[in-house]
């Protein structure tokens, strides 16, 4: 029954003292939050730490949520800020396009699922692999636009960038993703593109 409630209704319940309602909110958004965090930190353990931190921060600031935007937009802005802070704190390098070490790391991340040969060759696998090789900002914008289903204006609010900048970045991110896929697949690229 609680699954049918909207985010706003659940927030109302949490603010009224019903803490388990927050668990429903976490379950609903955890995959998006985790994926977005993973786009930045490129490591499952760190991404989980960041994602948990985001949900705790969101809980503590829930009274400050003005409901002027979607809850997901507000939550993703927390993820964006927390991930950026995490990167700054850990002084992780923002990976360059031809950095082979990233490829290894991302390969390990996706490889944890122990996919078989056929699955490894699936389109989704290669797109995930390629997206993991992108710069954190590019990967985050693509994730927000395609997986998070956020509009340009919402992404602009999350990333604190101008809408036009987001639009240009989205175009560039797609272009770079295509390049990544081409370099990953070489001959097989035509099957994907």
């Amino acid at each position: 029954m609680q699954n049918e409630l909207t985010d706003i209704e659940l927030i109302g319940q949490v603010l009224a003292g019903n803490q388990p309602a927050y668990a429903t909110l976490v379950k609903r958004h955890q995959r998006y939050v985790f994926t977005l965090a993973l786009r930045f930190v490129k490591n499952r353990e760190n991404a989980e730490e960041v994602a948990q931190d985001c949900f705790v921060k969101a809980y503590k600031s829930l009274t400050g949520f003005q409901q002027q935007s979607k809850f997901s937009t507000w939550l993703y802005s927390i993820v964006y800020t927390t991930s950026m802070t995490f990167l700054r704190r850990k002084k992780l390098n923002t990976f360059f396009i031809d950095d082979d070490t990233v490829f290894t790391e991302v390969k390990n991340v996706s490889g944890q699922m122990k996919m078989n040969e056929t699955e490894q060759k699936s389109q989704s696998y290669y797109v995930n692999l390629a997206i993991g090789k992108l710069l954190p900002d590019d990967a985050a914008i693509l994730t927000l636009f395609y997986q998070g289903e956020q509009s340009l204006e919402e992404i602009s609010a999350i990333t604190k960038m101008e809408t036009n900048t987001v639009k240009v970045k989205l175009h560039r991110a797609r272009h770079r993703l295509k390049e990544k896929l081409q370099s990953l697949l070489k001959n097989e690229v035509n099957e994907l593109l």
Partner: protein
């Protein structure tokens, strides 16, 4: 990125105006190269859209809720202090000060102008305290403190490197 690709992405994303949309749709219909590019981008778009979300560990929700509980337990003291108590203490001191000032002003003889005589304070001679032993002791303490902070700094540097 070429102009054609940008135009097509705007069309696919729905970022163009109605007029632009119609013009591009017409071009896709009539221009073979434009149509091929459109189909290529559409296939690419479908692949990105079909990308699966990553799943956190099984106990993720539980860990979040546990973290929240911990945060709530170790809530800082300032948030648990009853504001009424603070207000009461403030009011008590304000009242006391006001009463004291009232009493002082009420007892001042404004007409009788007498000069205020400040009490004489005898300060000790500095030389009697800053003798050789004290200075040496002070310098020794400074050197120990300096070594302690230097050690602390190098330890920090070492851990950072590792």
């Amino acid at each position: 990125m070429n102009n054609m690709e940008e135009e097509l992405w705007n069309y696919i994303d729905g970022f163009c105006t109605e007029e632009e949309r119609k013009a591009i749709a017409l071009r896709i219909e009539n221009d073979g190269q434009f149509r091929r590019k459109y189909e290529e981008l559409m296939a690419f778009q479908q692949n990105i859209s079909a990308m699966e979300l990553d799943e956190p560990s099984m106990g993720f929700t539980y860990k979040v809720i546990e973290n929240i509980r911990t945060v709530l337990i170790i809530k800082p003291l300032k948030t648990r202090v009853n504001q009424r108590i603070i207000g009461g203490i403030t009011a008590f001191f304000i009242c006391t000060i006001m009463l004291l000032l009232g009493y002082v002003f009420a007892n001042i003889n404004w007409l009788n102008q007498t000069t205020l005589a400040l009490p004489e304070i005898k300060l000790p001679q500095p030389n009697s305290y800053f003798n050789q032993a004290v200075i040496k002791g002070f310098l020794f303490f400074d050197v120990v403190l300096g070594l302690f902070f230097l050690d602390h700094y190098f330890r920090k540097l070492f851990f950072k490197k590792n």
